[in-house]
Symmetry: C2
């Protein structure tokens, strides 16, 4: 094994005698350092996501990590605002705030860290007039939430978003779902389900059981936890939120689905229970998305899930979430949010999007062993004996010009020590290249495959061409 | 022109009648949105940097955006601490702080945003015991500084760092300088200079003119601005910092170099002026780096610059900065910092590194027109007439499987309108693919090159293979 991400310090014990200060060398809670092997896995997945998103016609944007708090606050529902990271004022602004008789949080910050990639997109749509009418954008960046860290849940984590703005057509829903389904397939996922529901259907279900619409958001926050805390948990939370038992139970009965119910059966049951044209329109939209998706990568994956709520406040139409059986929570979610761009005080622009959660995808791929072999680190460590350093650099330069990843052993040392380093943890180069006086004179290098011990002296100009065969050679006796 | 990064809102005027709230849609001061064309340029440069850094044997890591303030404070010299972004406490911690009789900045935050990539590396080296003995790491991530925004200077900007830890050998300096020089060459820079100096030489110059060593850091902050504010400016600032005129002038005379002086002449002059073994050792180190670099990409680029100071507090040995004539400030800088890892209270680990400033590189490349043509956006917009949407998706899927970047026109519309969209700003697809009833029946598509008007009906399975030739076809009459 090469070095991964979580390796407690082993050097500590060697230096107990030394004066030690109290500066922690760990990253803050919920944050992570990524060492090379982990970076390789992250890049592999991000590279796939980009490639597929671009095939589906999406174009990349990036937005700043820091946004005005006025952009962020009030967009994420009751829990979101509490999880925002705020940036403390500096200098004069801070001094003014601290001079107040009663210092308030609102006086101390007007900037915050990006909480998701959807609200910044809405701001971008409102800001720039020269975007395409249908803006198909993707965005892969970290976001920050001061949430309780847990399995696959961090305070800094990447989202991989695709969105289509500018159209109310449900083809946009299908496009977005096709793209994320293809991403997952291309990474090797064969067992995911795309849960679909409709925000308006949720509203109608809530009012149909007699829950006051003033309690809608509160009820949805509870319902949204169904997958995490189960029916009992949701009933308890609905109770705590002041929703009476019989209503809560009626709501749960509406949203609970039987595994034997197919989409048509669920649709028919809901239509009959809600008995309204509005409900039928929402149901018909979901059925249309399912049917249009039937020729693409999302075919057979979509399932009507009347209990799916999505915690965020900005959804207005169809909503989605992708789940796999071995992960509580989801691999990502999304939906239609036709009012968000208009919240920036300009033209209303309809929009729909989906956010894949990179960390969850990585977690499941890790646990299932879904990664292909990934190249990490140098291909060659250049070891030298009795050769002037400028000559060592010259040879290294020739190898690098051949496209090889070459590390130079940087200190005078015995050859054995240099070779040992080349094969040590964290370097684990497949091959060492030895440059002695003979090799220098002949313009050659002695290559040594570190796993097999196979060895060959080749012209410097042919190292890249010969390396593969040497590494495939059978072990030396 | 496709859409770039700075496009004021043009939609505003169209909706004057609408109620408008006061939420700004601009990013915060010093922060930027990047639209697709700008992303393409950033990715091109970052891709080159990665590729070259890896050829030089460096391996990638990433660290969190948020660090403990205890990690950051006191590492960046007198100005650095003031430019740190601090994260405001939340909930209980904030309430406790605000309950204090006299609220202090220190009570309000214990986390801050990453200010550079060097201090986090030092923390990583101190934290993980399983890193290679010589850890050659690179890191390309944003950092945040609450600095005054200016030309090529932002509050969120990317650094591209390479560092070698674990060795005092000057080969590490040469390795790092070779890597960054090759990066710049591979991007097309042919005119850069690598200024080199030595932190210990600066100390000796300062004490040799009689400036109190207690004023060293203060004097260095002033001297570091020589390139920006000129000799007069530095003298004025030294004066403001309480350094007497004759001493300041003597210092400036030591560090000023004549364009006709070569490295050997500057070395000889400094050696004679300082007249100490310690100074000669430092000078000899710089000469060794220059000589070892003579066979690689940094050959002929290094210049002794006794006035180079580097603002950051942590350097201990050779220091570097890369400049080009048409940019005040630098494309990047670095140096040796043997004491930084030890500041985390554990083993001292020698280290040297260099940080290329991505934004500066992009700025100069933009101004000089150094970018190759870069692909942005979809290759095909799929336009359909009278075809069922699930069939449109099926055809799009086949095209995407061929590796093509395909956007689907998402709404029912006349063909002319669809074609106009495909050629509109921000989409500017080279080609439209028309799917009508005839094409659907024949398993074909009509391709239309949007620049030339050239048109051809081809089997769906051959679109990718035929696209290049169609786009090269001469314009239709």
């Amino acid at each position: 094994m090469r070095f991964g991400i979580l390796s407690p310090n082993c050097r500590k014990e060697r230096f107990i005698g030394q004066a030690m200060t109290q500066i922690s060398t760990k990253p803050p809670s919920g944050m992570r350092d990524f060492l090379p092997e982990e970076i390789a896995r992250r890049r592999y997945v991000i590279g796939r996501v980009r490639e597929i998103y671009e095939q589906y016609g999406f174009q990349p944007i990036e937005t700043p990590s820091i946004e005005n708090l006025s952009t962020l606050v009030g967009k994420y529902g009751e829990e979101g605002d509490q999880l925002l990271y705020r940036i403390l004022h500096r200098r004069d602004a801070l001094r003014r705030a601290l001079d107040e008789e009663q210092v308030q949080e609102a006086d101390l910050a007007d900037l915050g860290l990006r909480y998701d990639l959807t609200v910044p997109l809405a701001r971008v749509i409102a800001q720039y007039g020269n975007l395409p009418r249908f803006f198909k954008r993707y965005q892969i960046q970290p976001v920050w939430r001061a949430d309780r860290p847990g399995r696959g849940r961090f305070r800094e984590f990447y989202q991989c978003d695709v969105d289509v703005t500018g159209t109310s057509s449900l083809l946009a829903e299908t496009d977005v779902l096709s793209a994320v389904a293809r991403v997952l397939q291309s990474l090797g996922f064969e067992d995911f389900t795309i849960q679909v529901n409709h925000r308006k259907l949720l509203t109608m279900m809530i009012s149909s059981v007699g829950i006051d619409l003033a309690d809608e958001e509160s009820a949805l926050v509870a319902v949204d936890k169904l997958g995490k805390i189960g029916e009992e948990g949701v009933l308890k939370e609905l109770d705590q939120r002041g929703i009476e038992g019989p209503k809560a139970e009626a709501l749960l009965q509406l949203i609970a689905t039987d595994k034997t119910e197919d989409n048509a059966a669920i649709a028919a049951r809901l239509s009959s229970a809600l008995g309204s044209d509005k409900a039928d329109t929402a149901i018909a939209q979901l059925i249309e998305i399912i049917e249009t998706s039937a020729t693409g990568p999302a075919a057979g994956r979509l399932r009507l899930s009347p209990g799916l709520a999505r915690g965020l406040g900005y959804y207005t139409g169809p909503i989605f979430e992708i789940t796999v059986d071995d992960l509580a929570g989801s691999l990502g979610g999304g939906g239609r949010y036709d009012d968000l761009v208009g919240m920036f005080g300009k033209q209303a622009v309809p929009a729909v999007g989906f956010s894949l959660g990179l960390e969850r995808i990585l977690l499941v791929m890790e646990e299932r062993g879904m990664y292909p072999p990934l190249q990490v680190g140098p291909q060659l460590v250049l070891c030298s004996m009795g050769v002037d350093t400028s000559q060592v650099f010259k040879v290294a330069e020739e190898l690098r010009q051949q496209g090889l990843r070459v590390e130079i052993y940087p200190e005078p040392a015995k050859l054995g020590k240099q070779l040992q380093y080349a094969d040590s943890d964290g370097v684990r180069a497949p091959c060492a290249a030895i440059l002695g006086e003979d090799e220098l004179e002949n313009g050659s290098l002695t290559l040594k495959a570190l796993a097999s011990g196979a060895q060959e002296t080749v012209p410097v100009s042919e190292v890249a061409a010969r390396l593969g065969a040497l590494l495939d050679a059978p072990p030396a006796d």
